[in-house]
Amino acid sequence: EPEVTQTPSHQVTQMGQEVILRCVPISNHLYFYWYRQILGQKVEFLVSFYNNEISEKSEIFDDQFSVERPDGSNFTLKIRSTKLEDSAMYFCASVSQLTGELFFGEGSRLTVL
């Protein structure tokens, strides 16, 4: 069964460092998303991406965040200068055009020290 894959599974970084989280969405899916989940809290929408541009973003997704689809298969989330409060699980997702179902990856745990 096709799945969304994410790397790394866990990254520990120092405050102020740049972090890039990578995702390979399910092939032939056209809409991609990043969500985040702070430990023990609800899943929150960050950004959606379609046709090589951001289609919607939340208030969480400030200038420190950016997304890119550098090569037609990978979909990346970059945090320019990490803060302690960026520590969370980051989930990539893509949507099936056929069913409208959102498929999530297993997540990348980011720990900012």
Binding site: V4, Y31, Y33, Y35, Q41, K42, V43, E44, F45, S48, Y50, S55, E56, S58, F91, A93, V95, G100, E101, L102, F103, F104, G105, E106, G107
Partner: protein
């Protein structure tokens, strides 16, 4: 208006019992209501979903009941099993966007 309120926060059920999780919303523009199941260390996985033109949807032991006038929807898990122990999130999507608004989650524990 963009919130989805979910209760209870946690739920303990005996094996074979019925688990019921409730959600409520305010925004009448929401047009898609999925439930996600999340095991520790994993991403949320779609369990079952409903649109507001239907009052009930059943898939195996899982049923969504939808009350459009009350702006509430609930997940019923019949014959709950220890393997159902997970965190369940309701969600809603605004018709004009493609983002999901998640509830706060319910941690279900099913004891044998």
């Amino acid at each position: 208006q963009q919130q989805v309120k979910q209760s209870p926060q946690s739920l303990i059920v005996q094996k074979g019992g019925i688990s019921i999780i409730n959600c409520a919303y305010e925004n009448t523009a929401f047009d898609y209501f999925p439930w996600y199941q999340q095991f520790p260390g994993k991403g949320p996985a779609l369990l079952i979903a409903i649109r507001p033109d239907v009052s009930e949807k059943k898939e195996g032991r899982f049923t969504i009941s939808f009350n459009k006038s009350a702006k509430q929807f609930s997940l019923h898990i019949m014959d709950s099993q220890p393997g159902d122990s997970a965190t369940y999130f309701c969600a809603a999507r605004h018709g004009g966007t493609d983002k999901l608004i998640f509830g706060t989650g319910t941690r279900l524990q099913v004891f044998p």
